[in-house]
Subunit: 378 residues, 2 copies
């Protein structure tokens, strides 16, 4: 019997220059730059330029790139209609997966092929995704869509399109920073899906749509939703310790704790905790921060008793941050897609630059040569 790499665990499927996760030391790099530096110095647009072109832009390049992205934030009317009429029973991730294909119908002339340069032209898709999400959410609330504004950052404009209110400096910066934090994380099921589809020489629209489908899965996206479900059950910070202790006694899982790859603390978790603290100061509402810190403290004490340190991951604080930014829970995974799309496109470009179609095999364990019994004798 051949060796079966279930879930492809331990299989190295490609070389990549995009992202390094140093789980042992709790470090994350995009194209060689640490996530701490990127989040401090670069906007989401700048990081997107880095991911698509392999290097940081100079002033002229960034101005041009930023202008191009901002001028492409609007949606064609038929796409707005399609989003607003999307069946009520669907999840917004299904809507998003479909909207990308709808937007493919408006790509630039000549952008038909599976070619790295054509993929770079698909930057309009990165520009439009926040608008798609905001149009859907407002339709759900029975409200008219709000036209994007080109004087706001990618993150700030998204919040503006959701509420109609221009976000303050802290709010806008935190939103854009969250997009930087989630933009890339090497191979994972959605990025890998995007690369597999791209490897058939399908268009980047089909590949990104497929990646969104993978991110929708509850084993992939959605962990921060479940952290907030926990927070909603705990309600008050004072009850957190008791709740966590009881859950652990019942061998229940505490969401947002630990990470398959990071042995040290997830560097994104440290940054997002700072964001939550900053939002707490700005808004004067310390509820979530206190509650989550109490969960973390109780959990850590219990783990220390067992001698195995487990730290909060990026999902532990991000749901609370999103709530404080005014983002409804159902949009958490769509917002993840809105950020990760830059990483997906980067991986699709890298895949096409040195392509081989992904074609693993299956080990057949069934029968062969069965005879068909005529229908009436079955």
């Amino acid at each position: 019997m051949p060796e079966i790499a279930k879930g492809l665990e331990g299989v190295v499927a490609a070389e990549s220059r995009i992202c390094k996760i140093d789980g042992q030391n709790g470090k994350l790099y995009y194209l060689g730059y640490s996530i701490e530096d990127l989040v401090k110095s670069c906007s989401f647009e700048e990081v997107t330029f880095l991911l698509l072109n392999g290097q940081l832009p100079n002033r002229a390049q960034l101005d041009e790139f930023s202008k191009s992205m901002r001028s492409q934030r609007s949606l064609p009317d038929p796409v707005v209609r399609m989003i607003r009429e999307f069946p009520d029973r669907s999840h917004p991730m299904e809507m998003l997966q479909a909207a990308v294909l709808y937007l493919a119908g408006y790509r630039a002339e000549g952008n038909e092929a599976a070619d790295p340069n054509d993929c770079r032209k698909a930057v309009h898709l990165i520009a439009q995704l926040p608008t798609v999400i905001a149009v859907w959410q407002r339709a759900r609330e029975g409200k008219k869509p709000i036209e994007p504004r080109s004087d706001l950052s990618h993150g700030a404009n998204f919040l503006y399109m959701l509420s109609g209110d221009e976000p303050g400096e802290v709010i806008g910066r935190v939103m854009d920073g969250c997009l930087v934090l989630h933009a890339e994380h090497s191979f994972n099921a959605s990025t890998f899906t995007g690369r597999v589809v791209a490897s058939t020489l399908s268009t980047c629209y089909s590949s990104i749509s497929a990646a969104i489908g993978a991110l929708y899965g509850s084993l992939h996206g959605g962990a921060n939703e479940r952290v907030m479900e926990m927070a909603d059950k705990i309600v008050e910070p004072e009850k957190a310790a008791e709740w966590v202790n009881r859950a652990l006694d019942k061998k229940e899982k505490i969401m947002g704790m630990g990470h398959r790859v990071y042995r040290a603390k997830d560097p994104r978790a440290i940054i997002i905790e700072e964001y939550l603290e900053e939002l707490t100061e700005t808004t004067g509402d310390a509820g979530y921060f206190k509650l989550l810190k109490e969960v973390e403290r109780t959990f850590r004490e219990r783990m220390e008793e067992k001698g195995k340190p487990i730290y909060p991951n990026v999902d532990f604080f991000s749901g609370a941050v999103y709530r404080m930014l005014g983002i409804p829970t159902i949009l958490f995974t769509p917002v993840f897609a809105m950020s990760r799309i830059s990483g997906w496109l980067s991986h699709i470009i890298e895949q096409l630059e040195d392509n081989r179609i992904y074609r693993p095999t299956a080990h057949y364990v069934g029968e062969i040569g069965k005879k068909i019994v005529p229908l009436e004798q079955r």
Copy 2:
């Protein structure tokens, strides 16, 4: 440096009981039954039952299954509108990839989870895909959609919805047989994509949509289109030998020849050649048959000179068959999807029955620890 399995070649990613390809002997089995037997004895509906349930139906099961599929062929009005309004510049595979997500919004109550039984309830999707394709094609021709008929087989009804004419016995049987032939072929980029997305516990709608995206790629679907492009260039059977010889002299590739897996002749190619012969007799139009046989003969002679036999694959004759059934070339890959969806759903169910999320790794070959030069100094 770790060993890199580029394109995952040679990697065994899972066990499977669904399909056995015996390339050495030119044999293909679905759930243990040979493709020759299946195509002779079973309708596409019966084969779909086999793929979704792991065994052939008895009379009562088939009647119930068939009735259920046939009663679900119609599309909700908003879906018809969405298809008809899909941007003109898009390929129908992009439309199909989106339509599946639209149809997800009409799934049966309770069919929300990534669960094998929920996937079996998604059989309405298999029933509806031909309608989606026919509605799109007729819109493109400026014609009204034609309501599906429940007294026709899956294949015959598709042709009826395209043209409005009830197909004759041979035509209907050949179409349904082509769907049986293409329903399943073990792991390949689209089926693998469907399994990867399903492994995140995404819905079967997201997974199938993603698989359609992979099939759209020119390295995967579309080979039969390119065979017909060749036929369109050759025009007359008498000119085929000269054309093939000249192409081979110029080291050009002859489309539809050879198969990565089959060393002996692809068993589906033998069956589809018989179909083409049958259609030739029925219609009295021998043009494509003569032309393709002449291409095959010339190609074989040239290969025999080199001592390496290469046989026609399933794509070599299928394009001509589809044309003779009245299917426009742009629908060849959508028709492939309309058939393969049964196989995809079968694999998604198998994946969920013993799931592990697909998560290969990448070998990082870039730098780390780069310092960000301030924007104005770049």
